[in-house]
Point group: C2
Chain length 252, copies 2
DNA sequence: CGAGAATTTGATTCCGATCAAGGCCTGTGG
DNA sequence: CCACAGGCCTTGATCGGAATCAAATTCTCG
């Protein structure tokens, strides 16, 4: 594999302007989903002047909980997990992020979570300072950032319901459905869902242990609701039953 | 008790302009905390033109999950709980809100939760439509709404850690500390913390049962960490130990 | 092929849920 | 004033789902 650049290089910003505008213009999927959607070509160009790219390897820590929150990141390819830790090592994954997602926004007193890549990942980085000044001049950008944050909040509230009140089976079913819906949004098929994260990551996202996640997958497979071609992919065989399971509609 | 008006009256808006401006100008606590903070007198006046008040009794449902999201609410006095339900009645309380807090913001496809008063509560109501047009003209308002939403998101992420990874004892300790800190922000004493919500509400907020909440209170009292003068108030006797307990630092 | 990690499976334990009383406060009506 | 009804909260006994402990299996990759 080619040695990936582990650091962002702010000095390349000028050189990257056209590339950025081009990628935002040409790649329909990213243009629709990323936070530069709805912006004019000129606005995208201005955004690009304060942005720089990086290609990061898997399991790379972008920043840690408590670090000074200097930058905002946008994912242009790959996958990222955000998590919080307790002093004894217990971990809660706050979210799995994919192409078009944003993170690191709005924190004044240091990042509230650690961000780590799951796979090889392409990130756009913006300094908080520069992005702030642009926001003041571009109302559509401001609105876009706002609505993305609200969407994150709604998702977080849904996750609270899952963590506080759902059974292991319901949690896993909800998780698979969420991944599947997200894949569809990205233009991918709904059914063979890719799991770029480990069982440990899934467990820490759902408030379970590795063993319980594994057992629940096996159980759902035994019941004919899903298929497990390999540990990194899940087939949704019975979408209706999975949906019912996720909402506590049937089973135990 | 005087019969409280159960409905908002939009036609009183004009009449209320001066009152609104006055209350935001004169009441320091609300001015600092509510989302009209940082706004000029003129801006507050303009906000007031699209706003209307209501005094609501305890246990009053402001709106239900799934209702069309027409309005945004600001609490000027009292307390509100937001919750989500599963089809079989399991409930997760998403948040307890107090003076200065905002809710109902940014939902395009219906409210994502039910909002219900805990105590007698004074609310300001704004239509989404009118507030949206004002936001376009008042960047400081836009920023304020944004930063309040980010704060909610950070709190939601903290709550995910609590729900997914903390023990019952840690959950209750964290809850009491959060209430105490909030009281201090409001200018109230840190120690006799008021609990305007029932044990059932606390349980549904922490992902526990009523019985476990009650037992945990008793246990913390037995250990000399808290005092329970009555079921609606808690004395924080050993703040340091409570903090340690909340973060999983000691005990089991 | 072999070392080490990730995942699955099995046996047992334990924390919090459930089931079941019992106590306490508040309001109401005799 | 007291009796009583109905919440709400607390306490006790038991149960069960997921955690923990332990081991086997599969996957990965040199």
């Amino acid at each position: 594999m080619p040695p990936p650049p582990l650091d962002f290089d702010d000095h390349k910003a000028d050189r990257d302007i056209d590339l950025a505008a081009a990628s935002c213009r040409n790649c329909d999927v990213v243009r629709e989903i990323a936070f530069c959607a709805d912006l004019s070509h000129d606005e995208i160009k201005r955004l690009a002047t304060v942005r720089c790219h990086a290609q990061l390897p898997p399991n790379f820590t972008v920043f840690r909980e408590g670090d000074a929150a200097d930058h905002v990141y946008s994912i242009s390819g790959g996958a990222v997990k955000l998590y919080k830790l307790l002093s004894d090592g217990r971990r809660q994954i706050i979210g799995f992020l994919f192409s078009g997602d944003l993170f690191g926004l709005g924190l004044e007193s240091g990042y509230a979570y650690t961000a780590e890549t799951l796979t090889q990942t392409q990130l756009c980085r913006f300094t908080h300072r520069r992005l702030d000044s642009l926001r003041g001049e571009m109302p559509r950008l401001e609105r876009r950032l706002f609505s993305m944050t609200v969407k994150d909040l709604v998702a977080a509230q849904e996750q609270m319901l899952l963590l506080g009140r759902k059974t292991a089976r319901e949690k896993v079913a909800s998780f698979l459905l969420k991944l599947s819906r997200r894949a569809v949004e990205q233009g991918l098929p709904a059914s063979p869902v890719a799991l770029p994260m480990s069982r440990a990551d899934i467990a820490d996202y759902l408030g379970l242990t590795i063993e319980t996640v594994s057992r629940t997958f096996t159980q759902l497979k035994r019941d004919g609701v899903i298929g497990l071609p390999d540990s990194g992919h899940v087939l949704l065989l019975d979408g209706w039953r999975l949906k019912e399971t996720a909402e506590g509609g049937l089973n135990g």
